[in-house]
Amino acid sequence: MLDFQGYGPRLLEGAWLTAELALASLAAALVIGLVVASAKSSRSLVAKSVATFYTTIIRGVPDLVMMMLLFYGGQIGINMATDALNAHLGTDWFINVNAFAAGVVTLGVIYGAYMSETFRGAFLAVDAGQMEAARAYGMSGWLAFRRIRFPLMMRHALPGINNNWLVLLKSTALVSIIGLSDMVYVADQATKATHQPFLFMVPVGLGYLAITAVSELVVLGLKRRFDTGFSQAT
């Protein structure tokens, strides 16, 4: 039996945190991606410009820089806001930026930009007649999105989403620099204390592989779901 020298439980906790962080960030990135993709394909010039500005900035700046900017910059921004409020109201508020929330926001904001491009391409790949029929039968915008556009678009978006998700998962390792004890952070500490990098880093690698293996299964199921009506062509 491998002896993790007392780091075993913390390593597991770290793996759990990595999974939680990755899934929460994925959810945030998907929502942001959909909203931004819709903004980009909207008729409003303002919405289009804001969305394009956002994706240009995010995709051009390293994740690590972005994370530090949002974490430290976010804290400073919130401090300034609470200070101003305190001065006005005579209160003594202080909001500490939660590192997990900061991680989710950062990863969500970064990967939302990539997701938006994936979604935009997928929206364009859906035959316009499908949405026209939805409108012609009296569907509201939301109903048509939910019943027609989204399921048709997902077939095209799924490979891109999967790609982004795998990169996102591995980017969660960056959160150790803002003080979150994900599995990389724990393994790094353990390695420094024990000088046994293989003992800790190999399990971490396997941990990521385990998560991606499970996610491949989920993606396979989703692919089958969204291919309905297309794979059965005569």
């Binding site: 007649g129 012609a136 039968y137 009296g138 027609i148 297309f230 059965q232």
Partner: protein
């Protein structure tokens, strides 16, 4: 004359795309049981006219009255849009459209396509919608294809399925946009046969078509559009057999 019982009244419709004016004041009145065919060369505005009727295109000017209900518009700086999309959605659900390209929803089975609008737009219970949907598929000869997906069906089957989808919302008026133009010649007959049956049972229909035999045999009124205007209209026997307008004569000429 039009009254509140008239299924569809369109008055003096105008529509331009950018600087190109496509409709220059066209009108139409579809009474209960009317089959109105719109004919004309491509670019004459007949499809745009039809698409204005359920507001897939928003007309720049003109009136649209569905069963006595006036569609309300509001004028923006340059464009006009419906005042209430809720109203538009309600009206659209009463005017079913059959498209040239079928446009059956590709990710749903045929029966799924047929019950989609009744269940999700009109709020019909699923079981009831399914029973009615199956009866409609039976009518168009596709009961044994209910669980097939559009990609597994021929063009003619898809179009008959699309007609079943249209019938499922029990529409006041059925709008057909060149329903046979995308079909192989040998499949056109099946679709036209279904449309003839619908006409015989008194369905109110507006049909954009190039099928002159259908226009002659089935319609109660033919409207010939030219450059966004009604060039000639009347009973098919008159309009198609003794056209007044030289342009219509020329349009019909290659067929004789």
């Amino acid at each position: 004359m039009a009254d509140s019982e008239t299924p569809l009244v369109v008055r003096d419709l105008h529509k331009s795309f950018k600087d190109v004016s496509v409709l220059n004041g066209v009108s139409l009145e579809a009474h209960e049981g009317d089959v109105i065919t719109l004919i004309g060369a491509s670019g004459s505005g007949k499809s745009t006219f039809l698409r204005c009727m359920n507001l897939l295109e928003v007309p720049d000017a003109g009136e649209l009255i569905v069963h006595g209900e006036h569609v309300a518009f509001k004028q923006n700086k340059k464009t006009r849009e419906p005042a209430s999309w809720k109203q538009v959605e309600r009206i659209r659900s009463r005017l079913a459209m059959v498209f040239q390209g079928f446009n059956l929803w590709a990710h749903m089975s045929l029966i799924g396509n047929v019950i989609e609008a009744p269940v999700h737009v009109l709020g019909v219970p699923k079981k009831q919608a399914r029973e009615r949907g199956m009866a409609l598929l039976e009518r168009v000869g596709l009961a044994d294809r209910a669980d097939y997906f559009p990609a597994q069906l021929s063009g003619g089957q898809q179009q008959r399925g699309a007609i079943a989808r249209a019938l499922a919302v029990d529409p006041e008026v059925m709008l057909f946009d060149e329903p046979t133009s995308a079909l192989d010649p040998e499949l056109v007959g099946d679709v036209l046969a279904v449309m003839r049956e619908l006409a015989d049972e008194g369905r109110t229909m507006v049909v954009v078509t190039h099928e002159m035999d259908f226009a002659r045999d089935v319609s109660s009124q033919v409207i010939y559009l030219h450059e966004g205007r009604v060039e000639e209209t009347g009973a098919p026997a008159e309009v198609l057999s003794r056209p007044d307008s030289p342009r219509l004569r020329q349009f019909l000429a290659p067929r004789f």
